[in-house]
């Protein structure tokens, strides 16, 4: 067991912790030239150059807004569908699940290409809303899966309790379901936001380059920015989900019956 633990730690350090640390260090120092015998030249230049770029801030705000909107719609859709899937047994449920999973199995590029003309026709191409809609495609199936599992874990009979006691649909959602779904919402926050931040091709296609999200700034940056700036940019990508997670976590404290850290019950 001790050997296993040591092995585990080595693997985790080697493949997950050290790369992240190295990226962090690189973002805080000038590009490395170890083979020439140079040491590390610390500094904030990576970040300061990055933040001087006005496009970065615009893209950050747009990405965050899209992220929140995508998350909100995902939670709503996931909640309804997960609940429907968990509480009603059907024949052919496996097929229904396959159907709901299909948007992430069909290449999103194919879907975006197919929607392109339609988006132009109804005026959603090159707009925030068009990009928002196309970002739903690779995220919603995950949300449904996560919420479905959570509802199954909570159990059908537990879900009947509020109903029997006299709660209406929305009262039940806010007082019982959402509080019990908190872990699912946490996973969902990270998952949807990271997926949304990962979309270059479909965002460029539907947004037409006019809806500026972070990936659209990142790719051109690759051409001429040095490694420090790019490392800083990479870290910036990871900070956004963390930042949005903090917001979501604080919002969830407003859900009824939250155990607030500063309030001691007993």
């Amino acid at each position: 067991m001790i050997l296993r633990k040591a092995f585990f730690l080595i693997l985790i350090l080697l493949f997950f912790v050290i790369p992240l640390t190295a990226l962090l260090l690189q973002s805080l120092s000038a590009p490395w030239r170890f083979h020439t015998g140079q040491g590390i030249d610390w500094g904030w230049q990576g970040y300061s150059t990055l933040f001087e770029n006005p496009q970065l801030w615009e893209a950050t705000f747009i990405s965050i807004w899209i992220g929140f909107a995508v998350l909100f719609i995902n939670v709503t859709l996931g909640l309804f569908t997960g609940k429907a899937l968990a509480s009603y047994p059907y024949r052919g449920k496996a097929w229904l699940e396959a159907l709901l999973l299909s948007p992430i199995l069909i290449p999103s590029l194919a879907i975006a290409m197919g929607l392109h003309l339609f988006m132009i026709r109804i005026g959603l191409a090159d707009t925030f809303w068009g990009v928002l809609l196309i970002h739903l495609v690779p995220t919603v199936p995950y949300s449904i899966k996560i919420f479905h599992n959570s509802y199954q874990q909570i159990g059908k009979t537990m879900m009947e309790q509020p109903h029997i006691l006299g709660a209406g649909f929305w009262t039940q959602v806010f007082t019982v379901e959402l509080p019990l779904l908190k872990p699912a919402i946490r996973s969902l926050t990270f998952l949807t936001i990271v997926i949304s931040l990962s979309q270059y091709a479909i965002t460029a296609l539907i947004g037409g380059g006019r809806v500026l999200t972070l990936p659209l700034v990142f790719f051109p940056f690759l051409e001429n920015a040095n490694t420090s700036i790019m490392a800083a940019f990479s870290i910036w990508f990871a900070l956004i989900p963390v930042f949005m997670y903090i917001i979501i976590e604080s919002l969830m404290m407003f859900l009824p019956y939250s155990r607030l850290p500063w309030r001691n019950h007993r």
């Binding site: 009947e160 509020p162 109903h163 029997i164 006691l165 019990l180 019950h265």
Partner: protein
Amino acid sequence: MTQTKLEMKNITKTFNQDTILNDLTFHLEKGEIMSIVGPSGSGKTTLLRILAGLEKPTEGEIIMNGKEITKQKANRRSISLVFQQPLLFPHMTVKENIDYGAKVSKKYKAEKIESLLEATGMARFRDHYPSEISGGQQQRTALARAMATEPEVILFDEPFSSLDPSLRQDLRYWVRDFLASRETTAVFVTHDMEEAMIMGDQIAVFENGKFQQIGTVETLHQSPANMRVASFLGGHLILNDHEFVPLHAVQLGSQKTSENGVSFHASVEHITYQHGRPIVHLYIRELEKKISLPINESLPKQEVQVTIPCDSIKTFSGEIL
């Protein structure tokens, strides 16, 4: 004056061609407690779920206080259901759980919650979370939560079966007194005849989708409607499809004890003790029946003679009510 609180008329429920409930009819007076007893898997839970509004009957109607409520949703019915599992909300404390029932049914009064906490003995644990209290305490909290909605009828679905036996015994009496003191109308489902007798003013024997008989304990024992009821009660020796003998009339001996009677050969299978008395378990080969009788002294013999006086043989009443 009594008034009919809850009435069920010709309720039928079919599911994939199986008839689970077949033309059920009964009524309850205000403050009356009825036990429904039957073997596991006989559809008792479905019956309760239909009463509570969680499922819809295929046919028939439910009437409460003279108004039809068959189509009303569960959250609009003044009926509460306590399950086998306590199913408390894990993210709420004991008090919050009880409050919840009162709040969502818009019947919140601080004093009422306090009295429920006192009555269930949970006042001391008001700020505990469900995971921090015992199974019995959880079930009491669940009951308090159900009572907080001030239901006109409360339904119980084997609420004690997940508890250990000693706790179960205490809780049975406690719930019974609790309901009686509040004159709450209740339906109590169980597969345990003893529990049914403790909890109910009336007992309905339910099997094969039908009420085999509804009546008081005395009626059931004195004139069981049919074989099924008698075999479920376990207090009779069933001779054939329409005749039975109460066990207390059965005589034991090494020879036939009465001239004017029927006699069977029986083998002694076991002797156990119950309530301080020896009980002999016999197998009557001729009838393919097993019976258990209290005896005064130990029977040394392997083989005995069972005698049934002719005048104690009765026929099944055949009457459901």
